[in-house]
Amino acid sequence: MSAFTHLPLFAGTTPSVVPERDTRTVPAYDPTWNVIVLNDDVNLMTYVVHVFRQVFGYDTERARRHMLEVHHQGRSIVWTGGREAAEHYAHVLQQWHLKVQLESHV
């Protein structure tokens, strides 16, 4: 199953055939991954809070804290965890038109 289709946030909107990743390149250790949202001057602050609430299920206070971190510092680590879930979240955030990066965190 594709990394970005295994959580059914947008069930039915993904392609019917999604290729599997080649797992031979995965290193023996299992690093965690940071999902990072970058600042832009188009998205509304309230919109970004809403997206964090919708995508991660954060309460308003936590979502707002991440939004302010993005706004003031240019980036915020909004989620940390396994690679497949990180890729899924990055994909969903891109559907909401947020700028996203992933970085490994060994």
Partner: protein
């Protein structure tokens, strides 16, 4: 015994309730159509393994999925703006449609920001400018940009009333 009047809309119903003149709706519709017709670069998948060769199939699947979502969202915004009642009456939306419209609206604003409004500084795009000093194309783009931002904000406050208190 008094009874509460039955709500006209269900509590889950969101309203597109902005008011503006019909020519502005037509301008908005024409700009949105132009934006949708223009090439739109979807973001690529963030790289998770810099040591590995890029997987073109996986990248393509990532892009296809984003494009499919974006197309669905675009359809919802087109339907709203194409309705002659938009701007003159409250139009009910499901929460799912309202979120799709918001995403499509953001896409249009990002495109305007990258094209016709690319020369504006951040404080200008946020409203600190004299719109009448802008060239006609930028004026129209900016009007559309602000109108869509108001639409997003109004929908957001109905979808997520907790945002009002934050």
């Amino acid at each position: 015994m008094s009874e509460d009047p039955a709500p006209y809309f269900s509590k889950d119903c969101i309203l597109a309730r902005l008011r503006f003149s019909p020519p502005l709706r037509e301008l908005l519709a024409s700009i949105i159509q132009r934006v949708h017709a223009a090439p739109f670069t979807l973001p690529t998948a963030p790289v998770t393994d810099a040591s590995a060769e890029p997987d073109p199939d996986w990248q393509a699947a990532w892009g296809d999925s984003l494009r499919e979502r974006t197309d669905l969202d675009t359809t919802a915004l087109d339907a709203l703006v194409g309705d002659v009642r938009f701007g003159a009456a409250d139009l009910p939306l499901t929460p799912v449609a309202a979120e799709a419209i918001m995403r499509a609206s953001v896409r249009v604003r990002l495109h305007l920001r990258d094209t016709v409004l690319r020369d504006l500084k951040t404080d200008q795009i946020e409203g600190h400018l004299d719109i009448y000093r802008l060239p006609a194309a930028e004026q129209q783009g900016y009007l559309c940009y602000r109108l869509l931002a108001w639409l997003e904000e109004d929908l957001l406050h109905q979808l997520d009333p907790g945002l009002l208190r934050s």
